[in-house]
Symmetry: C2
Subunit: 166 residues, 2 copies
Amino acid sequence: MAEQNTGGESLLFLTDENLRKGIEAMFFAYRGFTADPDRILEDMDYGRAHHRAVHFINRSPGTTVGNLLTILGVTKQSLNRVLRTLFDDGLVEARVGKQDKRERHLYLTDKGHALERALSDAQRARMRAAYRAAGPSAVQGFRTVLEAMMDAEQRRQYQGLKEGST
Amino acid sequence: MAEQNTGGESLLFLTDENLRKGIEAMFFAYRGFTADPDRILEDMDYGRAHHRAVHFINRSPGTTVGNLLTILGVTKQSLNRVLRTLFDDGLVEARVGKQDKRERHLYLTDKGHALERALSDAQRARMRAAYRAAGPSAVQGFRTVLEAMMDAEQRRQYQGLKEGST
DNA sequence: CTTGGAATGTCAACATAGCTGACGTATCTT
DNA sequence: AAGATACGTCAGCTATGTTGACATTCCAAG
């Protein structure tokens, strides 16, 4: 899929200095990337963990706690604390599985959808501005490099959903 | 996959779905980005905060506590806790400023350089692999988008050093 | 049916790394 | 001499991660 160094000859873009710039770019850009949602969340005593949970429940309605655990890469105890506050505040609801009653299927309530919308609107606005400023071919490169930077396991989750719905 | 109109007229690359993919790519890639250093750090009871401090002291030897505060965007109490352990473990040393004796100029010791090297080697290896797989033009796009994603203040710090030395 | 292992989810206790607020000290500047 | 600046520290709070113990449910073997 990814183009393999089509220029071929020059490897100047692999200098340590270039790599260092890439590393710092990730650091600073990630701060910008999370800044807008963080501002919204802090007004409601939530944190990034809540954001992540809401995001992935929205992406895959009916996903189980176990699925979420795998995607988020945290312990179930840690996730549980976040989920509990989301239940208590009426943003997420859990339905016991029909086939397997051990499972809890997670759904956003209307209120949950509203928060998700607010958060992703803010984040999308920044992403859109960056995309627009950079242009389509830069965006393609951006995605290609990020994809290559993931662990294999994470890349799998990034590419296909496969689980959760249905 | 997505057909891109490099002419720039089409704004198909700005769809919500594309933006969502970009958002998730940042999330998953950042995990990969930090995974290797995290493994090294955890063996020595350090965290990402130590990594960041060591990185920027290495980048700008002689930088002051105040500069570091600005770059890292944390409170001095938080930074201080980290710096103290780095002093105690002999990785960083602070020299009182010659012109302004209130300032503490920070330098890595040999031991500090060794840790910095280990951390950045791991991180650069992953970045290099990603760069190589993606190719030079993708890398350029990657950097362009990340830069556009930063806050103005962070972009300033990313682009030029200007402070610290001299 | 019963029993026991495996999967799933919850509760309790603790660690780390952020944060705010208040204060102290040394130093520079006016 | 007085105020501003740079740095350090104490005390206490919050968010989010960890491990350990436990409850519930499913499924399969006896």
